[in-house]
């Protein structure tokens, strides 16, 4: 059996790491029939939204009626299934809670579903609990107004680890402490994911093996630290082997951070080597001769490490994530209009698009000088607007 099911919390007391949310939902249950009849639990996956809803039902001795993304949820279906549920008394229990799970999963095929849900909220006799990962989309804005919002935060890694230890004890199983820490961190606040990982690892004969591998993985930060601050050693040649990142991305990281560590002659030498790395990269592309990769790695690690005279800056440097590619991408979005204008112009006057882009400043003025030209080039309104703004 899945541990995530087996150890699903039954009551508020079983829920870990969401004290604030538990308080809010308790409050909601107490003032039943208050201002709002629905409650939205929202937060990242594995933080306990559905678990909280079930716990709330158990606490109030209620039957739970669940509708989730696996059900078709268009207008007709909701009317057919949910309407009776909100009107009829429970046969088995004193109370009833309606759970509409994963409401952000209501899709285009669920036509009219959301509107119908809202009107059902207005007429319901029983509390409706809704869960969602993200409620801030436009789609859910009407729903947001009709419901109380309770946010669930990512669960901190210590709590995750505590829960795992609790489960292992119950299962009479053992997993090494380091591995537990590792799983907990890797889960990034998703308790369900952590428990799933735990179950897999606890079931293995030698769980330490794969995770040891993961432990060894150097992150880019420590690799950069080693190169920028350490003496060049033969071991250094392999430093990027254990960084889980393509070399082209590593090059960008190095490029971005050389100036934070090196000055003057060291800076010039380091960049000179980086430039050689790039030349070899170019040669690989052009000649498909992959052995050149070797030189890329050597210059990038040992070479750049040897560029400094002596390690001066031994203190902690926080390295910047390279954002050049992102900026280029954003800029391309921005200049898409410029490009389309240049294209139209280029075709019209028998020049290349590249040249039109290059001389755009001047061309822009020419185009703006006469509305007739804008017509002649068949510029769209957006394009004309762009030109106007660029002025």
């Amino acid at each position: 059996m899945q541990w995530t099911e087996k150890y699903r919390p039954k009551f508020f007391g079983d829920i870990r790491g969401q004290n604030l949310a538990v308080e809010r939902i308790r409050e909601f249950a107490r003032h039943r029939g208050g201002l709002k009849k629905a409650l939205i639990l929202h937060g990242p996956p594995g933080t306990g939204k559905t678990a909280l809803a079930y716990a709330a039902a158990n606490e109030t001795n209620s039957e739970i009626f669940e509708l989730n993304a696996s059900d078709l949820r268009n207008k007709e279906k909701l009317n057919e299934i949910l309407r009776p549920a909100i009107e009829q008394k429970s046969l088995t229990k004193e109370n009833k809670v309606i759970l509409v799970d994963e409401v952000d999963g209501i899709s285009v095929v669920d036509r009219g579903g959301l509107t119908q849900l809202i009107s059902l909220i207005e007429s319901t006799k029983y509390p409706i609990i809704i869960t969602a990962n993200n409620i801030w989309g436009k789609k859910l804005s009407a729903l947001r107004r009709k419901a109380e919002l309770v946010q669930l935060k990512e669960i901190d890694y210590k709590t995750i680890k505590d829960v795992m230890i609790f489960i292992l004890r119950k299962e009479k199983n053992f997993v090494d402490n380091d591995i537990l820490t590792n799983i907990a961190i890797k889960a990034k606040g998703d308790l369900r994911a952590a428990i799933n990982d735990l179950q897999i690892i606890a079931g293995m004969d030698e769980p330490s093996d794969i995770l040891d591998e993961r432990n060894k993985e150097t992150d880019i930060f420590s690799a950069l630290r080693l190169i920028f601050k350490g003496k060049p050693t033969n071991d250094m040649l392999k430093v990027f082997d254990s960084v889980n990142m393509p070399i082209d991305e590593i090059i960008l990281w190095v490029e971005e951070n050389i100036p934070t560590e090196y000055q003057g002659e060291s800076l010039a030498r380091a960049y000179d080597l980086l430039s050689k790395v790039d030349v070899f990269k170019g040669r690989i592309y052009k000649q498909q001769y992959w052995r050149f990769l070797l030189y890329e790695y050597i210059f990038l690690s040992y070479g750049i490490a040897s560029s400094k005279k002596e390690a001066k800056n031994l203190g902690f440097t926080s390295y910047k994530k390279p954002d050049r590619i992102l900026k280029i991408w954003l800029n391309n979005l921005r200049t898409a209009k410029k490009k389309s204008i240049a294209q139209k112009y280029a075709k019209h006057v028998h020049v290349g698009e590249k040249r039109a882009m290059k001389e755009f400043d001047l061309i822009k003025k020419v185009i703006l000088s006469n509305p007739q030209i804008q017509k002649e080039l068949r510029l769209s309104e957006e394009e004309i607007e762009y030109l106007g703004n660029e002025k």
């Binding site: 430039s275 790039d278 001047l362 003025k365 002649e376």
Partner: protein, 319 residues
């Protein structure tokens, strides 16, 4: 419809209207009149009349059918081998319309074609020579592979001289009822660097501010159009602020979408204005040349330019 873009409106449509390049015009005109032209290769700087001449040849040859018999491609935009394999071949393989037995493909900026594409072109030129003639244009004939050069009649276009540019300006000034001072004419000529298209564009954008063109007016337009910011980049570098120089450079390259090679070109010109010793200027020029070489060899111009900037930081320290 007459274009309102002056580079089009005043584009010569007859051989005798072209300014400058007299010898070339004479030879090409007589070839055209004989209704049998070889493949032509026009080499020369931008804005000296290569495309214009090609268009005139085509219009003279085919008269009213010219559009059906003419394909214009710009190789700097579509530089891969597929252009040759698909567009060129598809056009070349069908027969021409009218009494001229061939069609014409004008391949502008042919030096931008990859070597593979040029190789593919070479066979195409021969295989379809009965139905198709090529007019290639390029800035540098050396970038066109020898086998293609040997299949073409080569014409070298020169930069337009001052008197030629003046003629063009005068014609437009008359046509558009403008006034211009002789100093302003001179300034437009200087700013155009012998590029006729640039000259006309300068004239049109200046005239949109006022129809009486003065040096003040031209200089505001000119200063706008120049990538002046490269100087700021170098100033930062020489004063030792590498980070600022790097940021600014990237910013310019993004905003102006200029290529690494263009930046190198601007840097090279700017070296002479730097406050450093002569031997350092020479050293920097050497570094700049090396950077340009590495840009061609490498894959990421921005990395090469940063390496170059680092040399400027050293130059600022007197090294």
């Amino acid at each position: 419809m007459v274009s309102e873009i002056w580079t089009e409106k005043y584009r010569p449509s007859k051989f005798y209207e072209i300014v400058g390049q007299e010898d070339i015009i004479k030879r090409v005109e007589s070839l055209t009149n004989s209704l049998n032209i070889p493949h032509l290769l026009f080499a020369g700087p931008a804005g000296t009349g290569k495309s214009t001449l090609a268009l005139i040849v085509v219009k003279e040859l085919f008269k009213e059918n010219w559009k059906e018999n003419y394909l214009e491609l710009n190789a700097s935009d579509e530089r891969g081998i597929n252009v040759v394999r698909e567009k060129v071949k598809n056009f070349a393989r069908t027969k021409s319309i009218g009494n001229v037995p061939f069609k014409i493909i004008f391949l502008d900026e042919a030096d931008a074609l990859t070597p593979e594409a040029q190789q593919a072109l070479r066979r195409t030129m021969e295989n379809y020579s009965t139905t198709c003639r090529f007019i290639l244009s390029c800035n540098y004939s050396s970038k066109v592979i020898d086998p293609i050069q040997s299949r073409c009649a080569l014409f070298r276009f020169k930069l337009l001289e001052k008197k030629d540019i003046e003629k063009v300006i005068q014609k437009i000034v008359l046509g558009e009822t403008l006034t211009i001072t002789s100093e302003a004419t001179e300034m437009i000529y200087e700013g155009s660097e012998g590029d006729c298209r640039r000259c006309i564009n300068l004239l049109q954008s200046t005239s949109s501010v006022s129809p009486s063109i003065t040096t003040e007016l031209v200089s505001t337009i000119l200063s706008d159009a120049k990538p002046k910011d490269i100087k700021i980049v170098l100033d930062y570098a020489v004063s030792g602020d590498f980070q600022k120089a790097r940021e600014k450079l990237f910013d310019i390259m993004l905003r102006e979408s200029i290529s690494g090679q263009d930046v190198v070109k601007a840097i090279q010109k700017e070296i002479w204005n730097l406050p450093v010793e002569p031997e350092i200027k020479v050293k920097l020029t050497e570094k700049t040349g090396e950077a340009e070489f590495r840009i061609v060899e490498g894959s990421d111009p921005f990395i090469q330019l940063q390496a170059l900037l680092a040399s400027f930081v050293l130059a600022g320290l007197g090294k």
